[in-house]
């Protein structure tokens, strides 16, 4: 062993080709390694059987084939889901979680494409949720038509998120202030802002630390509302928000790959110097992209309040951070993001009831780490090579790898 280390060394050299399989390979490797590391941590934290834990997560997140079969036969035979079976319940829950993840992921993707590290999708989402609530509960009358109401809420969420994202963009473009720190600080400001309004401040109703239920017109319809005509939908909370996310993903893919602006964004991200020489306005694009990023996150906020039907002090934090990881795992590809968001929605749903609580965020951290670590496979080739001692003056000197 010792002789092996003395006569071989690790060499990292620049890769000239860039095979297409590497991206998918490193994402999959990331997930697999994360599951292994996660298992070790679970074991250390006192879980008796990590594999059983993973199986429970999977069942909780997507259901089993038996559940699906029961669900389909209930659907076809116009019956309710048989007792003791989950049918589409887990899938529906996962879809509910997928839409905010997908939208915050898209927010991260567009910013990351330009190497703008918007870590503030969480805050932008909170601000979007706040603005959408203002429209739904305090500005428009309860009797507004549902499409008008939802459109107004979406517009409010988008505008609020865009504004909240444009501020750090402006600071970055004009004063070269690190956007990571500003967006992060603005996360906390948004959390406190929301707390101020719904927990102690002007919007809180009684001691409930919330705005109270939204008027029906300001909510997404859920599948379970159609239980009279389709009995198998009983209890399913899936809502159309997922289509909003998918539409946004397709739109973003079109912008990034087919439009002139998307081309500029990608050029700036790859090589800002070249972009400047080509006459692309860096400052304006920084502000615009941050605004678009914030708008997507703000839409996620609107989507979430319309699904929850209430804005309370317990409005979930962390979607923006999950978005960072999903964006990276999807290799900044908006279409791939749809699938990865769905899987991560499953992770969030599956780990909700499982102790210890932090398992989802730990797994996310490990996945991201491995994916970033394997990033080097793209740029470099790692080789173990033999050192020819005959040409070295002495073998005592150590080498930098």
């Amino acid at each position: 062993m010792k002789r092996f280390f003395a006569s071989h060394r690790l060499r990292i050299e620049t890769r000239l080709d860039n095979p297409g399989w590497l991206g998918a390979a490193s994402s999959i490797l990331g997930v697999v390694l994360a599951l292994i590391v996660g298992g070790v941590v679970l074991k250390a934290a006192g879980a008796s059987d990590p594999i059983a834990t993973y199986q429970a997560i999977l069942k909780e997140a997507f259901g089993t084939f038996a559940d699906w079969k029961a669900g389909f036969s209930a659907l076809l035979n116009h019956q309710a889901c048989p007792k003791g079976m989950l049918c589409f319940g887990p899938l529906s829950d996962t879809l509910v979680k997928t839409s905010p993840i997908l939208l915050t992921t898209l927010a991260c993707i567009v910013a990351f494409r330009m190497k703008l590290w918007n870590i503030g999708a969480d805050g932008q989402m909170f601000f979007g949720a706040w603005a959408a609530t203002a429209v739904a509960v305090f500005i428009l009358p309860k009797t507004t038509d549902r499409p008008v109401m939802l459109a107004a809420m979406a517009l409010a969420g988008i505008l609020a998120g865009a504004l909240y994202g444009a501020i750090p963009g402006f600071l970055k473009a004009k004063l070269n202030i690190n956007e990571i720190i500003t967006t992060l600080m603005m996360n906390y400001i948004a959390y406190k802002w929301l707390e101020f309004f719904v927990v102690v401040g002007p919007w809180s109703i009684g001691d409930f630390e919330s705005t109270g239920n939204f008027p029906a017109s300001a909510t997404w319809p859920r599948l379970t509302q159609y239980v009279k005509s389709i009995p198998a939908f009983a209890g399913l909370t899936a809502h159309p928000g997922i289509f909003l996310g998918i539409a946004a993903a397709i739109l973003l893919a079109w912008i990034l790959y087919r439009s002139r602006w998307g081309y500029q964004i990608r050029v700036i991200g790859e090589n800002p110097k070249a972009a400047r020489y080509a006459g692309i306005n860096l400052g304006r694009n920084i502000i615009l992209v941050m605004a678009l990023s914030g708008a997507l996150a703000g839409l996620a906020g609107m989507n979430e309040v319309a699904a929850l039907r209430i804005l309370s002090g317990r409005f979930q934090r962390g979607y923006g951070f999950t978005g960072v990881i999903v964006a990276w795992l999807a290799r900044l590809n908006p279409i791939a993001a749809i699938l990865v968001s769905f899987l991560f929605g499953g992770l969030l749903v599956g780990t909700k009831l499982i102790q210890p609580q932090g398992i989802a965020s730990m797994l996310q951290g490990v996945i991201l780490f491995v994916v970033v670590g394997t990033e080097l496979l793209f740029r470099y080739r790692v080789r173990v090579e033999k050192v020819d001692h005959s040409i070295l003056p002495s073998s005592g000197e150590s080498h930098d790898s």
């Binding site: 990571i180 906390y188 609580q357 730990m362 991201l368 670590g373 990033e375």
Partner: protein, 326 residues
Amino acid sequence: MTASALTELAITILFGALVSGTPLLFATIGEIVSERSGVMNLGIEGMMLIGAMSGFATWVNLSQNGHMSSVNGLVIGLFVGAVFGSLLALLHAFITITLRADQVVSGLCVTFLGTGLSSILGEHYVGLVAPKPSNLTLPVLGSVSGEQLVLILLGAVIAPLTWYYVNRTRPGLNLRSVGEYPSAADSLGINVYRIRYLYVLFGGAMSGLGGAAMSLITDPGWVDGKTSGLGWIAVGLVIFAAWDPLRGLWVAYFFGLLRRLPLDLQNPALPFISTANNPSVGRFMDMLPYIATIFILIIGSREAMRKRLGAPAALGTPYIRGERGV
């Protein structure tokens, strides 16, 4: 309200500011040194969290079970916090220095990982009995906690020592050269990789120490997400401190004051500005440290343009031996 009572109040508030600023100071100094060597570590938040959790867990296991006195448990807890912080930093160092991955992304990973790990491993420690600060009665200061006083002194000593080390010693010169112009340093026989590893580890240890100081001494106890963004504030302070440990000292204390402000203002004894009867305003005040961070970044950037202060030239770029570049 009498003058002496006011003085007493002022001393309490200032002491509180020093106390709550010291964990921030540790993290800021660690990051300054790490960035001076050319490696940006955005994982401070994660390293502080893991330090806070591991330090607290160590203390609980050692002193609650009667293995040793509370004070010894505290010292070991701080040490363990520093060790765990540097372990996370080692991961960052490996990814960014050896594997040459993007420092920003890797730092974010460290934060995610630290947050998740501390949340999982610290689950059984949430809300457990925390170390009770011992009471000392001193002239001028009045009744203060001995541990907190020692911690403040430690911070106040480390900052100038670090300044001296970085600016006036040979190893400090090597450190700066690696951060400014690594290929020149390399050509003089300085091992760039080794030095960067060393100071990234130091930065991690300081962040872990800061976290442990929080969960053990400055506001004892462990809850999920204990540091609530303090690590990120530290990243901002590094820029405002212009990578100078002495400036870091003042800035950290100022932020300690801001962080305590919502709490201090609830004191009904305070004339005119007390928020005791107006809790919603107090909630609004919680935003202050975060808003202030953005503001000092704005001020700092203008000052940096005027005085041409700058980040270490090689900050954020991996060093690749034999390749063109700085």
